[in-house]
């Protein structure tokens, strides 16, 4: 299984998580979507040298994971798996920004290191919140929320169909390439010519499938409009969830709690 295969297994797993049951799962997806969006905006709105003020924000993903009964280890692993890109771009910062920002005993900490750390913190926060959101909501509910928030229907329907057929088609691709390698007999690389044959055949099959799906839709009265069932409702719990967290986020955004806490503690130590 290559990286994509693993990613797909993840979609399946996250679907299973989303099928779970907790008060968080039952919340209207719009409330969760909006709250997570506010969370991300608050986190990324800090200046690039901010680290300590970002820390309280981890309360939100921690809350989602704990209250949604999500496997924390799995999410952490997933974040680590996708982190190389953030590391790659951030890692130049220490080299490029060498101005000493503060002195920790004999150690001079440059701005580059601080901003690097900040990038990593942002990355961990935003990614964990997004993953947790999906794991307690599921793509279908997210799509329903998007539709009801005014996202154009052709796009939402496209997302739903894409999600529906990812497994069918990647399964086909996997079987094709396995069939190829079984008849190759030695670990030979896929040549460009064979590659084109594989992809071309896959594409033809895909288009045939599209035609069959279209016919199946016609047979059940499809007239160009997909009608989506509405399940969710905005109630008191949704409003409380979104408002409550918004208050937290704005407090975290404008009051540096860790700094105050740290000063109080270091003050006591003195």
């Amino acid at each position: 299984m290559n990286k994509l295969g693993k990613n797909l297994a993840d979609i399946g797993y996250m679907d299973t998580l989303a099928a779970g049951d907790s008060p968080l799962h039952r919340l209207d997806p719009r409330a969760k979507l909006l709250t997570t969006f506010l969370f991300i905006v608050s986190v990324v709105s800090f200046n690039k040298y901010e680290v300590s003020a970002l820390v309280p924000f981890c309360l939100y993903p921690v809350f989602l994971v704990a209250a949604g009964k999500l496997p924390a280890g799995y999410l952490v692993k997933k974040i680590l798996l996708v982190s190389p890109f953030a590391v790659l771009v951030g890692v130049f910062n220490p080299a490029l920004d060498r101005q000493i920002l503060f002195q920790l005993g004999p150690l001079g900490i440059s701005g580059g290191w601080v901003s690097f750390l900040s990038i990593l913190a942002r990355f961990a926060l935003t990614v964990s919140a997004a993953l947790a959101l999906l794991s307690i909501t599921g793509i279908n509910s997210v799509c329903e929320a998007l539709l009801r928030c005014g996202v154009p229907k052709p796009f939402v329907v496209q997302l739903l169909f894409l999600n529906r057929y990812i497994f069918a088609l990647t399964g086909e691709a996997e079987r094709m390439s396995r069939a190829r390698s079984l008849r190759t007999f030695r670990p030979a690389a896929v040549s460009f010519r064979v590659f084109i044959q594989l992809i071309g055949n896959l594409l033809l099959r895909t288009m045939d499938r599209a035609e069959r799906v279209y016919r199946a839709m016609l047979c059940r009265g499809f007239d160009g409009h997909i009608r989506v069932v509405r399940f969710s409702k905005i109630g008191r719990r949704e409003i409380a969830f979104t408002l409550g967290w918004s208050v937290f986020f704005s407090v975290f955004r404008f009051v540096n709690i860790p700094l105050m806490l740290g000063q109080a503690v270091t003050g006591l130590l003195k």
């Binding site: 690039k48 820390v55 503060f102 329907v157 997302l159 088609l169 033809l204 839709m217 997909i226 860790p258």
Partner: protein
Amino acid sequence: MHMADALISPAVGGTMWVVSGGLIAYSAKKVREEADDRKIPLMGVLGAFIFAAQMINFTIPATGSSGHLGGGMILAILLGPYSAFLVMASVLTVQALFFADGGLLALGCNIFNLGFFTCFVAYPLIYKKIIGRGLDKKRLIIAATIAGVIGLELGAFGVALETVSSGISELPFKTFVLLMIPIHLAIGLVEGLVTSGVVSFVITARPEIVTAAGEKTPPGVGVKKTALGIAAAAVLAGAALSWFASAHPDGLEWAMLKTSGREELESSGRLHGLLASLQEKTAFLPDYGFRKAAPAGEVKSEPAAGEKAAWPAIDAGASVSGLVGGLLTLLLAALIGLGLKRRQTAA
């Protein structure tokens, strides 16, 4: 070349969300106007096809590295620009949501970089122009390759522009562009060759598919005009916002000051003063840090220093306290999480 949330500022991310959102709404409207019912399932499974095709890699001779299909150009050829753009946007959305490739805030950037340039610039202005009316294979290869390269290069340029105007990564624009261009030249070449290879395969096997798709594409002028219009609007909006972002490094804070006026400023000044006095009492670090910390508290008396203080807390006392407090907060959050978890399992 997916952008990540961590690398962009809300101003840039927000702008690109608006731009890409507008493009999605516009494309959705166009697709609806085309009223081709058959396209609804076709777009869906072609989106899944892009994922599936990416599971198969081929080995690039003499390099040991492998290439695969990116997909934007082939979608545009098979579906026309509007539908292709929607499919590309959906693929990127799924990647952002499930694979954390890119991120939610960066999604607007990614849709623009990988979707807009290919579907609305490279496809109508380069591929269609070279291909002309007929569909012979030599032209197809040339058209798909050049369009593939240009689409990806523009996308790479977009990545560089967005990253640098966000100001979070320290890489200077020129270095970034110089780093991105050659890499994406190679990626674009591969993409173009794969695209033309697959399209000529399909033409040989089932010619009606590609010709039908070509006919369905609305006349070039409409696409070009709208593409140019949107491109111009995007560049303008981007330029304005990146100027705004760089002039006011912390857009949100700036807006807060501007809207809530003095009171907020004073109270935060007082808070800073309080903190500063707290620091005075806790002087266990070299006083070097506290000298610097002091101006941060005196926003009113020293406007010039205040300007700088709007940037980060560049003071040692604050940093150490931040470190200690940060760790404590982390611990607290973990405890809250554990508590919640225990309650959940008990319930």
